[in-house]
Amino acid sequence: MEGKAIKNPVATPGASVEQKRYGAILDVAMKVGLLVLVVSFILYLVGFPKPFIPVEDVSSYWTLKLHSVVNGEETGYLHKTGIEPGWAWASSDNLKKSDFLTFAPIAFLASVTVICYLSILPIFLKRKDYIYAALAVTEVLVLVLAASGILPSGGH
């Protein structure tokens, strides 16, 4: 409690410059993302535009496993629904369907952290805080790699 701040840009109580910028961008992006999520979900519920899977049929699929093989036959969720994994939901055809449209704000919310990290990178570089600049770049790379769909995800 009695310790002294060591060469920290935050010398007085309150947020540092990068925290303020991160917080401001996060605030706007989060609110926009959540609002669009709710609106797109309402559109999905009323069936506008027509969903890939009608809302009344979703309960037939949500009990399934993602992948499942019974007697040599694939019986999993992806196979039964015909939904393609990865970024297939973002194709121009699929974005005309209200259930796939709901994925857009979900993906946006999952991208907000990358946007925030990129926004504070110039502050680290300007301050010649190269360690944190490198950490921020590495974090962005990890998140982009996870989002890319390159990594294997599933298969049981």
Partner: protein
């Protein structure tokens, strides 16, 4: 809070619980008890999302009052008692934790309670291992996931029960790594009207622990708040408020990486995810309002009992004893 409002909340909670119980019973006695939420269910298609909204609303209240993140309650309880496949529940759990963290982040950062310099190295380690955890989790069968998650939840209960919290840990000297990274800060404590200088130690052991925390978050879709706070506070020596705020903030990064893995695998169903996010967030808002008028210790006992029950349910479901 007036007696009238307390009564209103109590009645509202009882009604919601009654709806939940009725829904569960109906589902279990439907035409196809083995597939209570499927096409043959006696519940209309909108029934389960509505029940989910109600239950996650209650969870949001309890999570705030019990001082835990929503996902640690969400994944085992929804996975144990709802008809949804575990892949979808874990994907939704991560998105629930992510949404809660994104919503809380701006306020915590602006007040200087969440510390970016502390969060960035921790988040990098946890988010990297969360990706690995998600890959492992998505490749395992539901039975293995349920069994191991049941054991993990019971271990979390033990940790939550035994771990003492330290308001201002005694950090005599910052260690070398935290000095190089310049992880320290000052925040204003309104209760004592003092500025609190803080620094951390044992940075390397703390960072190593986040390897496991991130992995478990990704594998089970549990979020990671239950482990973040003890490690930041007790191991690394960050003040409790800074630990809680930084933990909440860094969940957005940890869970984002794992959430992408579930999203790319196709394990996200909007009909499960969106009511869950709305329910938890509305519940959290109500929870914050009634926080000042409740006994945290009593609520904490309820949360621990719920976790024990959910952990046992997952364990028994995974082992086939209570399918």
């Amino acid at each position: 809070m007036s007696k009238k409002r307390t009564l209103f909340f109590t009645v509202a909670l009882m009604i919601l619980m009654a709806i939940f119980v009725v829904g569960m019973v109906q589902a279990a006695t439907g035409p196809d008890p083995a597939n209570p939420g499927g096409a043959e269910s006696s519940i209309p298609w909108w029934g389960w999302p509505l029940i989910l909204l109600v239950v996650t609303f209650l969870m949001g209240i309890l999570a705030v009052l019990g001082g835990v993140g929503g996902a640690v309650l969400y994944t085992p309880i929804i996975g144990g008692f709802f008809p949804f496949g575990m892949d979808f529940v874990r994907g939704a759990g991560l998105l629930v934790a992510l949404a809660g963290s994104l919503a809380a982040g701006p306020g915590l950062l602006k007040k200087g309670l969440a510390d970016l310099r502390l969060a960035i190295p921790v988040a990098l380690i946890a988010s990297t291992t969360a990706v690995m955890g998600a890959m492992v989790g998505l490749a395992l069968s539901d039975a293995i996931i349920q069994t191991t998650m049941g054991l993990a939840i019971l271990a979390i209960v033990v940790i939550m029960f035994l771990a003492k919290k330290s308001e201002y840990p005694d950090v005599q000297q910052a260690d070398k790594l935290s000095s190089i990274l310049r992880i320290s800060g000052v925040y204003h404590e309104p209760s004592s009207d003092k500025d609190i200088n803080w620094k951390i130690h044992r940075t390397i052991p703390g960072l190593i622990m986040f390897i496991g925390i991130g992995f478990m978050a990704g594998m089970f879709g549990l979020g990671a708040g239950w482990a973040n706070v003890p490690v930041l506070n007790l191991v690394m020596g960050a003040p409790l408020k800074v630990s809680v705020a930084t933990s909440k903030f860094l969940l957005a990064t940890t869970d984002t990486s794992a959430a992408w893995m579930y999203l790319n695998a196709g394990a996200v169903i909007p009909m499960i995810v969106v009511p869950s996010i709305i329910g938890i967030m509305l519940g959290s808002l109500v929870g914050v309002k009634i926080l000042a008028k409740t006994k945290p210790s009593a609520v904490r006992v309820i949360v621990l009992v719920m976790l024990i029950f959910a952990g046992l349910r997952a364990l028994l479901k995974g082992t086939g004893v209570w399918a």
